[in-house]
Symmetry: C3
Subunit: 138 residues, 3 copies
Amino acid sequence: MVVTKKMDLRTKGNCDIIDITGQVKQEVSGSGINSGTVTIFVAGSTGGVTTIENEPGLLSDFQDMWERNAPRNIPYQHDRAWGDGNGHSHVRASLLGPSLVVPFTNKSLHLGTWQQIVLVDFDNRPRSRELVLQIMGD
Amino acid sequence: MVVTKKMDLRTKGNCDIIDITGQVKQEVSGSGINSGTVTIFVAGSTGGVTTIENEPGLLSDFQDMWERNAPRNIPYQHDRAWGDGNGHSHVRASLLGPSLVVPFTNKSLHLGTWQQIVLVDFDNRPRSRELVLQIMGD
Amino acid sequence: MVVTKKMDLRTKGNCDIIDITGQVKQEVSGSGINSGTVTIFVAGSTGGVTTIENEPGLLSDFQDMWERNAPRNIPYQHDRAWGDGNGHSHVRASLLGPSLVVPFTNKSLHLGTWQQIVLVDFDNRPRSRELVLQIMGD
């Protein structure tokens, strides 16, 4: 059994981290599927999905890690060729990955208490994002 | 068809890397499902799941990479706010990701010969961990 | 319903990035499954799978990121023990991860317009690679 749900989000870009846990729980709970997995996928090559403890200090720490490891202000061939200024956004998104798979049973996600599902928008400007939730199981 | 299995592990924390391949193989093989995927998910925001060649040199190299890219001894806002001292653990876990999906057919995982499934515990202290194996297929 | 497809690829190694989107689309479209997920998995501990905008500048930027964050020319315990010279390859692959899950409906993958599925071969020599596509759904 497969149920597909779409979520439209508005982001601020620039490593904006948006907690989508509540919406994912709601869609899973209302899907009619009792036990299985939900695949959260962001269409686009400058966004990623992961889990984090949604606490302002950590969101800032996570953003700082990206700034150290794929800095905004170094030369990117992508920017030289296309002038988009978002070479760092693409590199970060490819490293983090566009999808996350979370198991659930009895309509309940197996998340830790302080573990939230987040979309990370690495682009260098506000974006409209479409996420697909593919809910599969019995 | 969906079969849910739980695994309880004790870790040493501090980038402890624990090979769970044998247990995953056993659970898949005993699940009654012939072909499908197993989703390995760690509940909690300071653990991650990936594959690695389980060889002491590489485990050390992988730990060194984390120390370079998300060092323990730099300031974290999380530590300033909460005093847990595990800001680096959270950042590492969010980058690696809490889940891994491995396909299998004829009850056999499609792993390479030197490719093992591991839990990485980034927390700064020993932990009890619960992993969920969501086995789905025909 | 589960359909398993295998893809054999030849790579150049050394962070070779190979666009497999066309083949994945074709296998999904011909699988007889209308809606579900495809899990793309690379067997072996020096390869990874992700998405990227397949544009020469970005491929180079992505390779540069790996060179900064898991450099080829630093000492690795793996190389000291085994003399393979590919310690960096293993570390990179474990960070990126060997699998990607992409949802589809009406036989069509939910990718962004400039979002391609790629195999990244981190090994330090040309390789033959086997990818497994596990296509599951209704």
